[in-house]
């Protein structure tokens, strides 16, 4: 397990149980979490936060908007656009995947295929390399 030093991950997941599992696991991995169940809520948070999160864990289907819309919203903000987005969803047809990735999503992962652990590892990997870049 890679040690992460205070990375913040914003989690957008409309299923309460899943959100709980995700945030729990993230915390167990020493990551800060911001939980959102709705897209709008997430946007508001982004506005309010001094520092943007280091990563966004995004479920595709949110109650008020879908992943594409959210990505577009992110893109509107220069700062937000830089945040790596990990789409973790239960449906992933090529079209969706392609369009999300085209909009800048880092990875698109199928929930059912990945253990939490694996997903977190992927996120951490990305974050640490990024931070490495940052430092440099």
């Amino acid at each position: 397990m890679v040690q992460a030093h205070s990375f913040t991950v914003m989690v957008l997941e409309d299923e309460a149980l899943l959100l709980q599992a995700i945030t729990k696991k993230l915390q167990l991995n020493q990551l800060q979490t911001i939980s959102c169940t709705q897209g709008k809520q997430a946007i508001d948070y982004l506005r309010e936060l001094e520092n943007p999160p280091d990563a966004i864990w995004l479920d595709y289907y949110l109650k008020d908007m879908d992943g594409l819309n959210f990505m577009n919203e992110l893109k509107k903000n220069k700062v937000w656009a830089k945040i790596p987005v990990f789409v973790v969803s239960n449906s992933a047809d090529d079209e969706k995947v392609h369009s999300m990735l085209a909009l800048g999503a880092k990875r698109y992962l199928l929930k059912a295929q990945y253990r939490l652990e694996d997903i977190i590892e992927i996120v951490l990997k990305t974050l640490s390399s990024k931070s490495f870049d940052k430092k440099v």
């Binding site: 899943l18 729990k24 696991k25 992933a92 047809d93 090529d94 929930k111 059912a112 939490l116 652990e117």
Partner: protein, 772 residues
Amino acid sequence: MKLSWKVTSAVVISSILTMLVVTTLVFFLSRNALETAARANRAETVSQTADKVNRFLYERYIDLATFAERPSVIYSLEAPTQASTSALVPKLDYANMKMEYWDKIMSVNTQGKIVDSSRKQDRGQQLIGVDQQVFDQAMAGVLITTDLIHNEDWPTPTLIFASPVRGSGTNRPIVGVVIAYFSWQNVVEVLEGVLSPMAIFDQQGQIIAANNAEQINTHIQEHHQQIFQKISQQTNDRNQANSLIIDSTMVTYISQLGYLDYKGNNWIFFSEISNQLAMDPAVQNAVRVGMAMILVFVVVAILTSYVFRQIITKPVEQLSQSVTKITQGQLSTRISLTSKDEIGRLADAFNKMLDKLEQTQQSVEHQVEDKTKEVMLQKSNLDNQQKALLNILEDVEEEKEVTKALATDLQKFQLAVANSSEHMIITDAEGLIVYANQAASKITGFSAEEMIGQKVGTAKLWGGQMSKAFYEKLWQTVKVKKQTFAGEINNHRKNGEKYIAEASISPILDAKGKVTYFVAIERDVTHAKEVDRMKTEFISLASHQLRTPLSAMKWFLEMLLNNDAGKLNKQQHEFVQNIDTSNERMIALVNSLLNISRIESGRIIIDPHPTDLCKLIQEVAAELKQKMVEKKTKFVLSCNNRLPLIKLDQKLIREVFKNLLTNAIKYSPPGSEVIVLVSSKGQEVIAQVSDTGYGIPEAEQGKVFERFFRATNVVKFETDGTGLGLYLAKAIVESSKGKIWFKSQVGKGTTFWVSLPLSGSPGKKGEVSLDS
């Protein structure tokens, strides 16, 4: 009739005619002359006769005058008293008196007493009557001639001549008179000496002498009035003989007044003759001449015709004969004439013509031969054609029967098409609608009349809702490539309502491969689409709704097992592990169901990329390493090095081999071998996956690719399995244009083969991919 006869008769006839004409002309011309001649002739006769009579009488007159001068006569009359004796009376010397002419001669003295007479009884008689008158006249000293005396006293016509006798004295006193009685018969005899009928008329119109008294008498009696009229009219030259034509009788007369010194008696000398007789000699002459001329002419004619014949007729006959021969077909005849005249030239020309004719005939014969051959050929052609036509007719009859049968058959199809529930349209090669069935009208909302004649696929009708490119592609497929187009088309009904049709459009080609019609069958799949859409929605829903709790379970179980919620004891761990296993199964099942649903809906995306199949299989095997380790499987992969890259959808093919390998591992006892061989054969690559596992019972081998099928011999101890793996694998392989098959024996093992075309899988623009 022959030419020579024609010529001869022509000549002869013309000659005769000429002669006749000439003769007639001559006759008529000469008739006058003849008439005049005849008249002259007759006039001459009459004149001469008159002259003769006059001369005769004059001679007697002179005779008497001479007699009166005879001394004997004078003596006899001077001495009258002396003698009374007869013996003394000197006999009259009648010598010169020609007594044949006189009936009686008397000498009479101054007292009127007959001194002497040739009739003795008269001597001494006294004159009386006429005699006395005559005597008195003579005593006056004049020679007297009386007119003809003919009465009872004088039964015989007599002319009395009387002459005074002068004495011998110096003053010659008249001593007496001699009276002679002339016998008229003598005059008659003179007339009788004339051939032509003659008569003498006195001024009263009485015939006094005639040589043919009866004939003349009757005729003259009839016409004497005319004649005398005529005579009295003529005042001049009464000595000239004149002719009259009265009733075709020529009458010539001369009225004699006197002739020389003789004092005539104004008799009319009359001769008549019928013209005919007058002409007689002339006519006879003419006839003789005519006949002579005829003879001459005939002879001339014959001669002429003979000459003609030689010069003209003969050559012409020759020509004619030759021509006859020619008309009979002997074209080789030639005319042999040598004369240099026109006929000769004609013959020449004829010969030349014959030469030409012969040539022509020969060429004509050739042409006729040729033409005949042609005609025969044509005839045989026509015969053949006729036969062919007859055959065709027979065939046509047969065809008719066939057609009738076909028509009946056709009716069935017509009814089938007309009443089908599928929308069926038939268009011509240009896309103009020629037929639309009931269903078409029902579905599109347009009536058949509205559709027929219109171009299909336009917004005017139910089309025009797709892109131009779409229609162009459609047209390209059916018209140019002449292939069936199958696809979905968005259409709209007449009322504007939109609908989706599943269309199959096929070209109909004629024997030459040319497009004649298009047949379009469309099915309103709007409902089906709706159902499909609902299915998709359901699947979507399912994938989301089902997976969400499964994911939650998965993650929480993961955390549990990871001791993130505290360390679990052995039993807790075991239980949680079981739950996790079940959960995984459920996830797998849901995934499989979704995949199958997607596969079945045909919406799977096939995204081929050039793939190293061997490498792919390797990767799959790597993924299953854990399982292999658990089962202690011996895995062998053998690939043909020269395998080219094949266009494959990696995701799908990966799934296939994942399934096959998973099965091979799962359904073999631990420590078994799994061998994978990959090679190319012809146009395909074949991957062989064989195990030495439990095998598939023969009775169940037919169901192996069915959904949810699990062979009975493995299901007991290998509960994990959805029964969908092979079904999915088959679906993928087949949509990749490959084949999958197997061989298996219970207890021995199973080998699966997958063949894929080297040309790769065709791409498919779908909507979903597996496990999404």
